[in-house]
Symmetry: C2
Subunit: 393 residues, 2 copies
């Protein structure tokens, strides 16, 4: 096991009706002038925003609103948020929405404390040294941003999708009410599930040997998702299914199951180009890319994929030919994703095979990240996209 620091000081406030306490938690963590950051409008329609406002008002907290966060959140709205923070002397950012909304809130929170262009943090041109406190009321289990120090933003004019990270950006509190996720369409529920599972797999496939505790914790989250996701889709109002998925989503990404081991994140990087270019749901992109990545890299450590197949997907171990078990596990994963209504190839996703060279070229414009489970060249990434193009459930 590698040396590590694990610091997750977010207070998670979980359960029915907890959003009515949001004012109390904003106050607890020092907020008096709040920017309420919102997504597409569902929080308005569902009455959630009214509850949040009422709770803030009951604590005599000033607030101003900024709505309009889209999936794959844009830099343009972040600039707008930063302006508002300066204009209104905002001292707390409250995200009311999903992962995109939280990521956008985090970007505003670091941007408001920085003289330069916040995009510097997403292109490794500046180091995050200060951040306004952020709180969240989560409306979808997916990104894990409610418990992480990470944020992903897309630059509107270039369509480049880049990430930044710092423990300073970890939310002070996150309110997780599974009931708020019961109104999600099945497709969004499935996309969220794929994102959660991908967060685990990015950690699971490691080159660090002898990490039984985090291996087992990763498998625990995956097994839960395999049980609960089809249930949440078949019975959208099933509170228990929603609750299990919601806590799984947080545990999957606050890093308690990923510490002390090298992580991969190449599937995320490859997918980011897809959702950046086509504006498709991140989880849907991952459903197409991740199994393709697995097929491409499995020979790097066949036994690890066999372990996944046996422990997570309940495959029989083939002791004579472990690679067949490994392949069966990947097939089972793709088949699971298909069964919950997700695309399994580029066409189903709405992406075009002829764009692969452009996707790979954008990749090259990234932070030059190498490493992970298998170090990928441009040719490797091209091959992974082609596997993804040809895949069938």
């Amino acid at each position: 096991m590698d040396n590590f620091n694990f610091y997750s000081p977010t207070e998670f406030v979980f359960g029915k009706d907890r959003e009515n306490e949001v004012g109390k938690y904003v106050k607890k963590f020092g907020g008096s002038r709040v920017l309420v950051h919102l997504g597409s409008g569902s929080a308005v329609r569902s009455g959630l925003l009214d509850k949040v406002k009422k709770s803030l008002e009951s604590e005599n907290i000033f607030y101003t609103e900024l709505g309009g966060v889209k999936p794959n959140p844009r830099d343009t709205l972040v600039y707008e948020g930063i302006e508002i923070c300066r204009r209104d002397n905002i001292d707390f950012i409250l995200s009311v929405g999903g992962g995109s909304c939280i990521d956008s809130a985090k970007a505003i929170a670091i941007g408001a404390c920085y003289e330069g262009d916040f995009w510097d943090f997403y292109t490794d041109k500046a180091e995050i040294r200060a951040c306004l406190p952020v709180g969240t009321v989560l409306t979808i289990a997916a990104a894990g941003s409610e418990g992480s120090g990470a944020s992903v933003i897309t630059q509107e004019n270039t369509r480049l999708k880049r990430d930044a990270g710092s423990d300073l950006m970890r939310p002070k509190f996150s309110i997780l009410n599974p009931l708020l996720t019961c109104t999600l369409p099945a497709y969004q529920t499935a996309c969220g599930a794929a994102d959660i599972m991908a967060h685990v797999f990015e950690r699971y496939f490691t080159n660090t040997p002898e990490v039984e505790i985090t291996d087992r914790l990763c498998e625990a989250v995956l097994l839960t998702m395999i049980k609960e996701t089809p249930r949440a889709i078949a019975e959208p109002d099933n509170y228990d299914a929603r609750a299990n998925i919601m806590w799984a989503g947080t545990v999957a990404h606050n890093d308690i199951i990923g510490v002390g081991r090298s992580q991969d994140w190449n599937s995320h990087a490859i997918e980011h180009e897809l959702s950046g270019m086509y504006d498709v749901a991140h989880g849907a992109g991952l459903a197409v890319i991740m199994p393709a990545w697995m097929e491409f890299v499995m020979h790097h450590n066949v036994m690890k994929f066999a372990q996944m197949a046996v422990r997570v997907f309940g495959c029989e171990m083939n002791f004579e030919r472990p690679e067949l078990t490994a392949k069966e596990g990947i097939r089972a994963f793709r088949s699971f994703l298909h069964s919950i209504g997700l695309p399994v190839n580029l066409k189903e996703l709405g992406a075009k095979e002829e764009d692969i060279p452009a996707l790979v070229k954008n990749q090259g414009l990234g932070k030059g990240k190498t490493g992970g489970f298998v170090n990928l060249s441009s040719a490797d990434i091209t091959e992974i996209y082609h596997i993804a193009a040809k895949a069938e459930a």
Copy 2:
């Protein structure tokens, strides 16, 4: 799933040689005048104390020492610590030792901020409202106190063992270097493992239905302990085995795997009377009590015990007679404890069957806790002690 709050703001600093950074972390969390709290002397002999002092000195931090913490830490030393805090204007308590040392440090930390008798917190006569910051350098994986808000203290003159809890007592940081645990005798390693597994089982056996995510996370920790403990005993210097056990021990008790579900804790309460009366190791007491408790309560939810048997101990499910699978799981647990060198009955523990009435009577003097998985009467507790008296591996 039940509503819950989860707040674990401890910074975990994990890995080889991390104790050399202790001064930096004391400073980070506001300490300038430190009480270094120590156990029996092994930290002195191993050179650990010297490293800690050197690190504190390099940050120009004042410190004073208080050693002598014994297993089942006593109130008498806590009173001494509180006096020193007042005399030397201590603003930070640093525990260098195992769970007993941390529990004692926490008691001093709350006692120093309280006008009355600190024992009030352990008898529910006062509520914890303030606490000096506590940091730890952990030397044994067992109690989980390095990541918890709990403390257990034994009153010297009455031998009563009582607990207190508050998020305020959670350590600011905990330094976990698995190498420091390599010198532990096999018996202490085994006792620690039993304690860790018991922390999981106290959460696992719940009356809250539909808690797949925390069930699976609990099983992940148990599976890890079953794999790694025999390895750490056979090869004391095996860093990976020690590292997996150490992170498992923290995850087992910081409550991330126990939130949103009713918990039991009756085995701990029953055991506390044993280690209070005979001054035996807590983990050894748990090894005797927990399987006996399981046998007594298994009919309350046979399928949950069958789940444990199948998922944790790899038993075959008997679909016609699930209770046989349940029993086989309990047998497998006791047999595992025996295989790592722990006692399985009162006699092996050094306890006397004729003391059972006195043990049960002390129980009655507790906080009057009822509930848990099965609500136990005095007659039930008597029966559990008798099962423990008769048990064989």
